[in-house]
Symmetry: C2
Subunit: 227 residues, 2 copies
């Protein structure tokens, strides 16, 4: 029976400061060797005999890009096209990882964060996997509490609104966002206010997510009994 | 570098007639050999060197359970626990397949449909994969048109309501379901009526799904601009 190399692959996304504006960005490494020398690839590495693919993703992220503070990690998709690696058949399982906006891991010289809307030349079949990771994040922002994995521990509604707008790539009303997240029990006020207001305004209330584990907060309400 | 067997695995679900009532059921095969001889397993088979995992799932379903009419097939999850197969390390990628309620494929003697709420002894790590397939179906019934893959080509609202209620395992209002699916453009009247009404009542209007490809019909409306 045929046997295959198996690779762990990570789409790590973060809302990052940037010029001319903050952007949803993905962590990539520039390839130094063929195939695809000079192109950019997602962090990846072989799955060892004694580990799951999920553990392998964490191990490679820690070893290759010094990334250990991942707020959320979930499986995205397994890629199995026979020609996807021109050297040898390799099956890869991709994970989506999210990093809070306060985190700034020290990347190796050949690593960089790329805005998901302006990617460079991407190696292998990694471009559609990045697109799938972005779609997954955007979908889950609407029906889960996944925003916790993008946010700092404490934040103002203005900061959170900006992060949602960047991640979703469209405007979000701060009032509306606050109303929805509070009603679903995702957010709670910390009782404190920010040290200084935005743009010299009044200090603003601080909030935090009530849970830092993924929860479906709007499950299928539409077809529920008594609806 | 380590290499592994890779298996394609299928969670095939159908709303099936049953005693004492119709139930959401999963297709399984009774194992004749160790490991897990006598227990029930999902249809599976090795991925060949020249095929994707998705193509492998279709090939094994056609060969092993004569199942070629799959209305929808999507990837669920890759299972990679090092001890999941006691004989040899095997990584498996599971797919969710849906079969219309009109379909009745001819199963081999060791095959059967089991109600997802009353499973027998299940081999390997297949039980949690079945649960994940059921969760995925239920979630997608609320925000996509995936009902097309459970339904006949044409149906009355009473028939569709019953299928949704069985798949979701809770009551669904026929009026509410019709309103939601029509508003989202998922359904259209065929212009015909059923030959005979239910329980001797008046003939009922027939409907069909407007598309038989998966479409997200309620995407993230909650955080949209102008909402």
């Amino acid at each position: 029976m045929a046997k295959y190399r198996h690779e762990a692959l990570a789409v790590v996304l973060q809302v990052r400061p940037g010029t001319p504006r903050p952007q949803l960005s993905v962590l990539m490494l520039r390839r130094r060797r063929d195939p695809y020398a000079g192109a950019w690839a997602l962090p990846s590495g072989p799955v060892e005999a004694t580990e799951t693919v999920g553990a392998s993703v964490r191990r490679h992220l820690a070893a290759k890009v010094d990334l250990t503070q991942i707020a959320h990690l979930e499986q995205l998709r397994t890629l199995s096209d026979p020609g996807r690696d021109p050297f040898e058949r390799t099956i890869a399982t991709a994970y989506l990882g999210l990093v809070p906006w306060t985190s700034d891991p020290e990347l190796p010289a050949h690593g960089a964060w790329w805005p998901v809307g302006a990617l460079p030349e991407v190696a292998f079949d990694h471009r559609p996997v990045i697109a799938e990771g972005v779609r997954r994040l955007r979908a889950k922002l609407s029906y889960t509490n996944i925003g916790f994995a993008l946010a700092a521990d404490e934040f103002t509604m203005a900061q959170l609104r900006r992060a949602y707008a960047i991640a979703l790539d469209h405007e979000v009303s701060s009032t509306n966002l606050q109303r929805i997240l509070l009603r679903r029990g995702q957010l709670e006020p910390t009782g404190d206010v920010s040290a200084s207001g935005e743009q010299g305004g009044r200090p603003a209330k601080l909030f935090r997510f009530t849970s830092r584990e993924l929860e479906v907060t709007d499950p299928f309400a539409i077809l529920r009994p008594n609806e």
